[in-house]
């Protein structure tokens, strides 16, 4: 019976490792300049965790196989040096592993969060509210109009609470339900939550950043592949959370200029 358990344990461990080693359910394509660092970090973490997992399972199976079905009352052996040494060894081993992952991962993290966006980055504001994303471009004057929460009028599609009547900067602001950006140009996305916490997640961009009401957060990134990608909210935000999404359109500069012109005419 014990030997059968050891065999089953070995099979489960090996079979569950196959889809990970074979990349059966791997990450979607990466369309950002920083994404490779995230992917490398993810692969390192998976490799290390996977190796530890397999080692632990196979070792367990080995011991079960070797010491099962013994007729004699075998003496229970202790770890050389006793329990204290065992705990200390595990602490150092696991601690080193965690520290190593952290130090290596810092590279990927810092490349996104600890660097400033380029001066010529495209400035876009993202607003998350129950249950839709809206985006705002500064328009021809390059300036955003101020936000007045009391002016928010969704029936009139004034989602941001602009005051074009009194503020010139707000008049040419372009508000859209879709995030369109030119390919290979850095974008600085300024994030603003209208009501509760939300999250901006684009798998292909390798970006997931929470919106926090009252905090001005920003992420910057450069998309490298033209296409249409889904933006989803990944922070449970209420009844319509499942329905909260928008699209990211990465366009050639030429298409982007056309799109911008079209949107400007609709304002």
């Amino acid at each position: 019976m014990g030997k059968l358990f050891a065999v089953i344990l070995t099979i489960i461990a090996l079979v569950s490792a196959v889809p990970i080693v074979m990349h059966t359910w791997w990450m979607p394509q990466d369309i950002s300049t920083h994404g490779h660092a995230i992917d490398e970090q993810m692969s390192e973490t998976m490799a290390e965790a996977g190796f530890s997992f397999l080692a632990a399972q196979l070792l367990l199976a080995f011991f079960v196989w070797k010491f099962s079905n013994r007729k004699d009352d075998g003496k229970i052996r202790t770890f050389p040096g006793g329990a204290k040494a065992l705990v200390a060894a595990a602490f150092i081993l696991v601690g080193t592993e965690m520290l190593a992952l952290g130090v290596l991962g810092q590279k990927a993290w810092a490349s996104v969060y600890f660097t400033a966006p380029a001066a010529n980055a495209l400035q876009v504001q993202a607003q998350a509210g129950q249950f839709a994303f809206y985006f705002r471009y500064p328009g021809a004057d390059g300036k955003f109009g101020a936000l007045h929460p009391d002016k928010i009028d969704e029936g009139n599609q004034n989602y941001f609470g602009l005051d074009p009547e009194n503020e010139v900067e707000a008049r040419d602001d372009i508000v859209t339900g879709e995030l369109a950006i030119p390919v290979n140009r850095e974008v600085n996305l300024m994030m603003h939550a209208k009501d509760v916490g939300h999250s901006f997640y684009v798998r292909e961009l390798r970006i997931q950043q929470d919106f926090v009401p009252g905090l001005d957060l920003a992420v910057h990134f450069t998309a490298t592949k033209v296409g249409r990608y889904e933006i989803v909210c990944t922070q449970l935000c209420g009844l319509g959370h499942y329905n909260m999404k928008a699209y990211l359109s990465v366009m050639s500069q030429e298409d982007f200029d056309k799109w911008m012109k079209q949107k400007a005419s609709e304002q």
Partner: protein, 237 residues
């Protein structure tokens, strides 16, 4: 003898009802609602997050806070008698249907009488959450998944209630709950008619969701038709 009495009574009833239908007593107030100036531009609605709605339109629909027509006519204005006429004695038996279709409200402005039954239906392949932002009446919001039965509700007090969908931010409409039975909502050419008014002094109110209200006093004598026009000042922003 007995049959003759019954016959006479029958004739009297018939005559009375014929008079009520054929010869409405009193006068009529009619007119047009127009605007001056430039109304705010109605922006196209981006429904891409709801593909089942977006695909129903070849060109995206625009918001409906100001709907205009030919001859500077202003649509979706509720014109009603706010003073002078007795309130409706009892709630009408007909039901008012308010549909959610293509992620829009149809009609955009629904007039209800106090305690009249409202039926909210969802014709879409997506869930809606209808939320009348009532101040005087009881506020409620109800989810309505596709294929679910109609929601029936009523409102007890006179009020203009903004309605929104808690799932689709662009969906906005109004429930105009009125005490009076004399009302009209402007459409095609901005025209309205309020018939069957007994002689008296009336206050006519015209309400528009973006431009507010205007009132005019009108006196009706006999069975005349009085013309009353409303002109709203449009704002570009």
């Amino acid at each position: 003898m007995r049959s003759k009495h019954v016959f006479m009574a029958g004739v009297a009833v018939l005559a009375a009802s014929a008079m009520a239908i054929a010869a409405p007593s009193g006068g009529t107030i009619s007119g047009r609602v127009t605007y001056t100036g430039t109304p705010a531009k109605q922006k196209p609605i981006d429904m891409s997050k709801e593909p089942s709605c977006a695909k129903q339109y070849t060109t995206p629909p625009v918001s409906e806070t100001v709907v205009t027509g030919e001859g500077n006519s202003l649509h979706n204005v509720v014109v009603y008698i706010s003073a002078g006429a007795p309130d409706g004695a009892s709630a009408p038996v007909q039901t008012v249907t308010f549909a959610q279709k293509g992620c829009r409200y149809i009609p955009h402005v629904a007039v209800l009488q106090v305690n009249q039954e409202l039926k909210v239906v969802n014709d879409d392949q997506t869930s809606h959450n209808i939320h009348p932002l009532a101040k005087l009446n009881r506020e409620w919001n109800k989810s309505q998944p596709p294929g679910s039965p109609a929601i029936t509700e009523k409102f007890e007090k006179e009020e203009f209630i903004p309605v929104k969908c808690n799932i689709h931010p662009w969906m906005h409409g109004t429930f105009a709950v009125l005490k009076t039975t004399h009302y009209a909502v402007t459409a095609d050419n901005g025209g309205f008619t309020l018939p069957n008014l007994p002689p008296g002094k009336y206050t006519i109110t015209a309400w528009h969701e973006s431009y507010g209200t205007q009132t005019q006093d009108v006196t009706i004598t006999g069975s005349e038709t009085k013309s009353v026009d409303f002109v709203f000042k449009a704002k570009a922003y």
